[in-house]
């Protein structure tokens, strides 16, 4: 039975594979070559039990890069409570009419990335660097859009309005 798994298990990557280890605290006392007795090292062992669905991996995935509908518009929008998102069907053989599965800001970042690659193809490294900077700026804008923080200040009761 697994217990205290957050402190007993560890993982690491090895190429395409993930390695799982269990921490085992040693209780043995072993004499060294000089005859001194010291506590043995703690060690990492292979998992010592089987657990069905025991490992949960949360990861960023390459999901549907091209889709058939615009992901940034609602399919129906009749009122505050009645709206639906579009059905995003993956396009396996993308064409010019296919939509990129990104929001508007990331789509603009995508434009900068394509411009950077095109500049690099032409050997214009300065322009490539410029467009890559614009690309990173738009990624940063997209991240900051998710972290809008509002700060409220209480107004004193004696304040004149």
């Amino acid at each position: 039975m697994s217990y205290d798994t957050s402190s007993n298990f560890f993982w690491r990557m090895n190429g395409q594979q993930m390695q799982m280890y269990r921490y085992r605290k040693s209780s043995f006392l072993t004499p060294d070559v000089s005859g001194r007795v010291s506590a043995d090292d703690d060690e990492l062992i292979y998992p010592d039990e089987s657990i069905t669905n025991g490992i949960r991996v949360e990861y960023n995935a390459f999901v549907k890069p091209f889709i058939s509908a615009d992901p940034n518009t609602l399919a129906t929008d009749s009122s505050e409570t009645t709206w639906t998102n579009p059905t995003l069907t993956e396009v396996t053989s993308p064409e010019e009419t296919s939509h990129v599965n990104l929001n508007r800001m990331l789509s603009l970042a995508c434009v900068c990335f394509v411009q950077a690659q095109n500049a690099a193809k032409d050997g214009n490294i300065q322009m490539k660097e410029y467009y890559m900077r614009e690309f990173y700026k738009k990624l940063a804008d997209n991240e900051s859009n998710k972290r809008k923080i509002s700060i409220a200040f209480p107004s004193p009761v004696s304040s004149v309005r």
């Binding site: 697994s2 798994t5 993982w11 062992i45 292979y46 490992i55 949960r56 009419t97």
Partner: protein, 92 residues
């Protein structure tokens, strides 16, 4: 935004090349931002160290192990760095 819109804005005429670069951009974005998180579960197998990860993985956000002693909660585990004293113990 459609592929054509991106091509027009970027001044590219080659559709296949544009699609390849857009795929690269999406891959780049996915590897630096949290846009499409997926969860997959694997069986933890006794005496097995190596586990195959999903093929569509770009970057790992977290790894958890089921704690059967604590109401079957998945608890996030830490990533190991550096070299450690590892024992292949087939009879723990």
């Amino acid at each position: 935004m459609t592929v054509l819109e991106i091509m027009e804005r970027a001044g590219i005429r080659d559709t296949n090349l544009a699609i390849a670069w857009i795929k690269d951009a999406v891959h780049f974005i996915e590897s630096t931002q949290t846009e499409n998180l997926k969860v997959r579960k694997l069986n933890l197998v006794k005496n097995q160290r190596d586990y195959v990860l999903p093929a569509d993985l770009i970057s790992i956000n977290s790894v958890s192990v089921l704690d059967t002693e604590d109401d079957n909660k998945y608890k996030k585990i830490r990533r190991m760095v550096g070299e450690h004293y590892v024992t292949e113990d087939t009879n723990p």
